[in-house]
């Protein structure tokens, strides 16, 4: 219930980090982790191969708090708010509208671009997605599950008009989105100046993951690197909220050249 305080054993579930998880899910998971860190709520990350099937909505990540299970950033923010923790209470109505609009921009453009790259770009699909997505399962189940998921995602892309886009056009959209985020952030430390909000968590989750994930080309991460205030933003949040917490992930934005990153 909402009245219960946040327990110590709250858990976040995602797919297996080294072998299975994909770019988009990793971004979403990191966004939720960042949000909870910003709220100062302890969370333990657990990796399970069948996390997608355990989730109430089929989407990841999901958190298990007390006897409740909530998935995806939006509902998790609401859930946390019901427990009395919120990052956006200090915003006025117009700022809240702006925050929601920018969160939709990230979902509409960045997340969709990540999904496109993972499931509609043939090279990436062959070399990265198919091997990773089905990796916990034996043949032929791994191939069947991969193809099923790919068909689902492609159907959705077609319905929203992204199926006809080329990779160049998708990268241009990513650039446009990053430009907008960069312009909105400006020289401030966070999007709403002094204090981070769920928007900062969401943007961090996606941008950090894009910057530190090795794909078949560097084009995606190059788009983000073009905007220095965005990379500085990622570094800042990483240092403030993740250094010292995450023992198994030795990837930082600064150390990227030295150590290989989250995927592959």
């Amino acid at each position: 219930t909402a009245a219960e305080p946040w327990p110590e054993n709250a858990t976040l579930y995602q797919q297996l980090k080294e072998e299975q998880i994909l770019l988009s899910d990793n971004a979403s998971s990191l966004a939720v982790q960042a949000f909870l860190q910003m709220c100062n709520l302890p969370i333990r990350v657990v990796c399970r191969a069948n996390a997608e099937y355990m989730s109430p909505s089929g989407k990841l990540p999901f958190i298990h708090v007390g006897n409740q299970v909530v998935s995806e950033l939006g509902p998790i923010v609401q859930f946390v708010k019901a427990k009395g923790h919120s990052l956006s209470d200090g915003l006025d109505e117009v700022q809240k509208a702006e925050m929601k609009a920018y969160m939709e921009l990230v979902n509409n453009m960045l997340l969709t671009a990540e999904l496109y790259l993972q499931w509609c770009d043939d090279v990436t699909v062959e070399e990265i997605t198919h091997p990773r997505y089905g990796s916990p399962y034996p043949w032929p189940l791994n191939r069947i599950l991969s193809y099923q998921k790919q068909w689902e995602v492609r159907r959705k892309m077609k319905a929203i008009g992204w199926a006809g886009k080329t990779l160049e056009q998708v990268l241009e959209d990513v650039d446009q989105c990053c430009q907008a985020l960069s312009q909105r952030l400006g020289t401030q430390p966070y999007f709403f100046n002094k204090q981070p909000t769920e928007l900062d968590a969401l943007v961090f989750g996606h941008l950090f993951t894009i910057l530190t994930t090795q794909l078949t080309t560097d084009e995606l991460s190059e788009k983000v690197k073009n905007y220095s205030n965005l990379t500085a933003f990622c570094r800042r949040i990483e240092q403030q909220y993740f250094e010292g917490h995450d023992k198994d992930s030795s990837t930082t934005v600064t150390a990227r050249s030295a150590k290989r990153s989250l995927l592959r």
């Binding site: 117009v94 509208a97 939709e104 509409n108 159907r155 959705k156 319905a159 929203i160």
Partner: protein
Amino acid sequence: MAAPMELSCWGGDWGLPSLHPESLTVMAYAKFSGAPLTVNTINNSWRPPKGEVPVLISEDIVISQPAKILNFLRRQKYNADYELSAKQGADTLAYIALLEEKLLPALLHTFWVEAENYCSVTKPWFASRIAFPLSLYLPGKMSREALNRILLTRGGPPLYSLTEVEAQIYRDAKECLNLLSKRLGTSQFFFGDTPTTLDAFVFGFLAPIYKVCFPRVQLQEHMKQLPNLCRFCDDVLTCYFRLTVSGHSPAGQDTADANLQKLTQLVNKESNLIEKMDDNLRKSPQHPPRKLTTLKLAAGGEESSPLNRLSP
């Protein structure tokens, strides 16, 4: 000057230049930026709408989605966002994303999926503007595509039935309308006194909700509780689409002018007759002489003026 540009899109009714949100967005942007577009509304001609509507044709170039069409117009120096700062440009992108994610599903549902609305209003309206036999097939296809889009983007678990999905998308749409209303506040347009791309998109999405008379109108009723959004739509319609209260669409402006001519001729004939009668009356000693002037054709004037000058 750029080559002549033609826009092919769905026509309008209920006081709107177009019923179709994307078409309306492009038409509004063209008005705001002063781009000279010839608007061809799709009618019963044998040329079926080729896939995506609206379509801009300029010489050999064919461009189809609203965002791309607007980009093209900007490159031709028709830029409504000239005065915006970088941050305002970023805000534009964000709010457009909000419209597409939160408002569009409910808008599509109201037009194409809600059974009463679709059967009594949308289908007959669109079918009457498409040539037979496509008119039997195309509206159904558009309806199926709308439902498909709603289910694929919003219909996953934990929402398991269509009614649950519907409830959720209308909740989201109402919240979106509230957010837009808060953002607009008391300003005339979203970024001050001149309309921009964002105003074009918001108008494109809101005006159909506001004006089209459906049997099931929960979104319209919600919007009417947000008077600044209604005022925004009315302002754009009266200032940029020259619609009078009676709501003649610009596509019918020529017919309105022709009607005006006919009306004025009729009135002139009438006044000639009355003059004759008056002459007869003058010959009788009881009434003082009066003069009735013949009416001249008013160039693009209001309809009511010729009638006003007929004073007994």
